[in-house]
Each structure stands twice: as C-alpha cells, then as structure tokens.
C-alpha cells in the first residue's frame, strides 16, 4: 500500500495546495488514510505530518480507520435528527463498542455518520451495506446486528460442514 502511495506521489507536484487532492486520491484507492500514508504525504510536500493530520481531520470526507466488512451509516440530517437519529447512532455505537468513524477490531463493522441520504420521509434512517433501513428504532438496531450474527454463524457452520465432508 505504501509503495503504491509512493508511486502516486511521484506523479503529483510538490505544492502545498496539492495536499487535499492527494489525500482524496489516497482515500479513493485505499479507502482510508493510515498514519504512515499521511507521513509520506508530509515528507513529499515538505510540511509537518501534524499539519497533514490537522487538515485531514478538519474534513468529514476523510476516514482514518479501514472500513469494516459491513458498513453502517447513520443519518443525522435535519429530519433524522428531529426524530432521534442520534439515539440510533448511540445504539449502534454501544452495541458494537466503537465510536462513529471507527471500525471494530475484527474488521466486521464500521460506523459512520452522514448528513442526509435523501429519504427524509423514512426518518430516522440508517444505511447498512447500501440498503436503506427506514424508521429505525433501538429494537431494529438489535435486529440488524443479530441478523449479521446469525449469518456469520451459518457461514461458519457451512464451512465446517463442507470441510468435514471433504
């Protein structure tokens, strides 16, 4: 990954104003900005790595953790906020033990907060693996996560069975 970024940096000019486009390209390719990647960019542009980090954390679009296998996006736009989108986000956070913008240590889930997904009539909304979940409630949060648990258990069982039959 770092080698790839190194090669990418060779093609971009060493100018301060290129910082954000470079970060965007790295995130596009690798889905997130790792500390080492930010250090490489700082070295390339001749600015301190703290400065790169400061700029990157200012913008919502950059993420600092690799996305999980299942991506959960909780809408906190106006309509969702009014009907308790923050409660839904907090529910996901508590159940998974991570904060928004983070990924669980097993890389299964990541939570993100988004501003609006464009279906305010269904508020509060969460987008789980690109499927819009309408009218969210704490019980639905539990249901979704339970569904993933069952799916994972079934997959493991099938895997074991297929290994046993071989």
């Amino acid at each position: 990954m770092l080698k790839d970024i190194d090669e990418m940096l060779l093609t971009s000019e060493k100018k301060r104003e290129n910082l954000i486009p470079i970060l965007q390209r790295i995130q596009q390719r690798h889905a997130y900005l790792s500390p080492d990647a930010m250090k490489l960019v700082a070295l390339h542009l001749g600015i301190s790595s703290s400065e790169v980090y400061g700029v990157a954390t200012f913008y919502n679009q950059f993420r600092f953790h690799p996305p999980g296998k299942h991506q959960i996006k909780v809408c906190l736009g106006t309509a969702c906020h009014v009907v308790g989108g923050d409660i839904i986000l907090e529910n996901f956070e508590r159940k998974l033990g991570i904060k928004d913008g983070e990924t669980t240590p097993d890389r299964e889930f990541s939570i993100e907060r988004v501003a609006c997904v464009g279906c305010c009539a269904l508020a509060p909304v969460a987008v789980v693996d690109d499927v819009v979940q309408a009218c969210m409630a704490p019980s639905k949060v539990e249901g979704i996560l339970l569904g993933f648990d069952i799916e994972r258990e079934r997959d493991e069982r099938e895997k074991q069975e297929s290994e046993a039959s071989q």
Partner: protein, 227 residues
C-alpha cells in the same frame, strides 16, 4: 514618526507594528488573548482587542490595524466593551471553569479579563458545556486538557518558531477542535528541552505530564470559582 492619539494620550510610534502592539508597549491595556509578540501575522481569532477608530463605522480588531498618522483611537467605548464582553462570554461558554483545581489559578488570563470586563466566570444561562471531549493528546511529555483550551493558537505559533515547522496542530473542528501532535515517536520529537508551548499557554491547557499531579498539590487555599 507617526503620531497617534489613544484615549486622549498622544503617542509617537514607528512603523511595522500593529496598533495593539504599540498600545501595549505604551502601557495602554487592550484585552487580548491570541496576540503574540514576534508572530509574523496575528491570527485575530480571540476577537477581544477591539478599538474604536475615528472615521471607522464599526470597532476593529487592533491587532490587524497598522497605526497611521493622525489616528484617533478610543479603547473603552460602550460598543467596544459590548463586543469584548460577548467574545469573552463565548470563550467562557466552552471553558471548563474549575479554577480551584487549575494550575493557572490566580495567574490566569481569563480570570484577569473577566475581572477587567466585569463578566462572571460562570454563566447561569449555560446549563452544560458543549465541549466535553476528554484528554486527547498522545504525547510522551505533554498532556492537554481540551476543556481548558481557548484555541488561541499560541502554542502552535511558538512551536513553529522553535522548530521551523509546527509539531502541534489543530485537529477536527468546531466544538471538537483540539490541539494535537501527530508524531508519536519520542526519539523524533525535539521536545525534551523545549517547553515553549507549556510556557506560552495562558490557561494551562497544555502542561508537562509529570508536573500535572504536583501542580494540583501546589494549589493555594481554595478560591471561589466565580467572583
């Protein structure tokens, strides 16, 4: 020489300095927080150093104004004080007022400014602090308390002066803004003999880790939180 009249006092000043710097040198106090002598450009972020200049429609931040010949300045008009009071109230609204346990107690810029402007340190209107983020700076030597920080940017500026580039930076934004250091490796940090950021911090938001406990023990006898 440029002749300036401040609050009825005629002063003569040289070029290349801001009105705020000139006034402070002459012993004329203008509330300020983010201004730092020797900084190439003032960030003008604290919004405290307002003055009224004859001919200007509204008060201006004196750290951004160079003096000109024949300038007539008032530092204590009602609208200047009103702006300064609201700026200080906004700063205090995100400041965790816990003077008793703060190493800056009695030598704190915020306490002095609050006394000078007649603003209570604790506002009754504000029920809870918007800025509650816990300790964040992961640095081998320093500790940072965001609830104390007034985001004056002085630590970042002195760090830049000492190292050519700044190891400290603002991260995130809005209420969540914190001062942080990205480099975590103690061997690559030139901080062991440099205490510039700790010394410059007006509110003890950034301090030495091992001194943290001592600083609290050294406290003078309990002091009421608000005047």
């Amino acid at each position: 020489m440029i002749k300036v009249n401040v609050d009825g006092r005629a002063i003569e000043v040289g070029e290349g300095q801001s009105l705020l710097a000139v006034c402070l040198q002459q012993g004329i106090f203008i509330p300020h927080l983010c201004f730092l002598e020797g900084m190439p450009e003032s960030p003008a972020s604290c919004r405290l150093c307002f003055v009224d200049i004859q001919g200007e429609p509204a008060p201006v931040a004196s750290c951004k104004v160079p003096p000109w010949d024949g300038m007539v300045v008032r530092t204590d008009t009602e609208r200047v004080r009103r702006l300064q009071k609201s700026a200080l109230r906004l700063l205090l609204s995100v400041h965790h007022v816990d003077c008793r346990n703060c190493p800056s107690n009695k030598k704190c810029v915020l306490q002095d400014l609050a006394k000078f402007l007649g603003v209570p340190l604790k506002s009754k209107k504000l029920e809870h602090l918007q800025r509650e983020i816990g300790v964040e700076l992961d640095h081998p030597l320093f500790q940072f308390v965001p609830e104390r920080c007034v985001l004056c940017e002085k630590c970042i500026a002195v760090c830049r002066q000492h190292n050519d580039f700044s190891l400290l930076t603002f991260a995130k934004r809005g209420f969540n803004t914190v001062v942080t250091c990205f480099e975590k490796d103690p061997d690559r940090l030139p901080c062991s003999d440099c205490r510039a950021c700790v010394e410059i911090c007006p509110v003890s938001a950034i301090f030495l880790k091992n001194e943290a406990a001592e600083a609290c023990l050294d406290q003078p006898p309990p002091f009421p939180d608000s005047p």
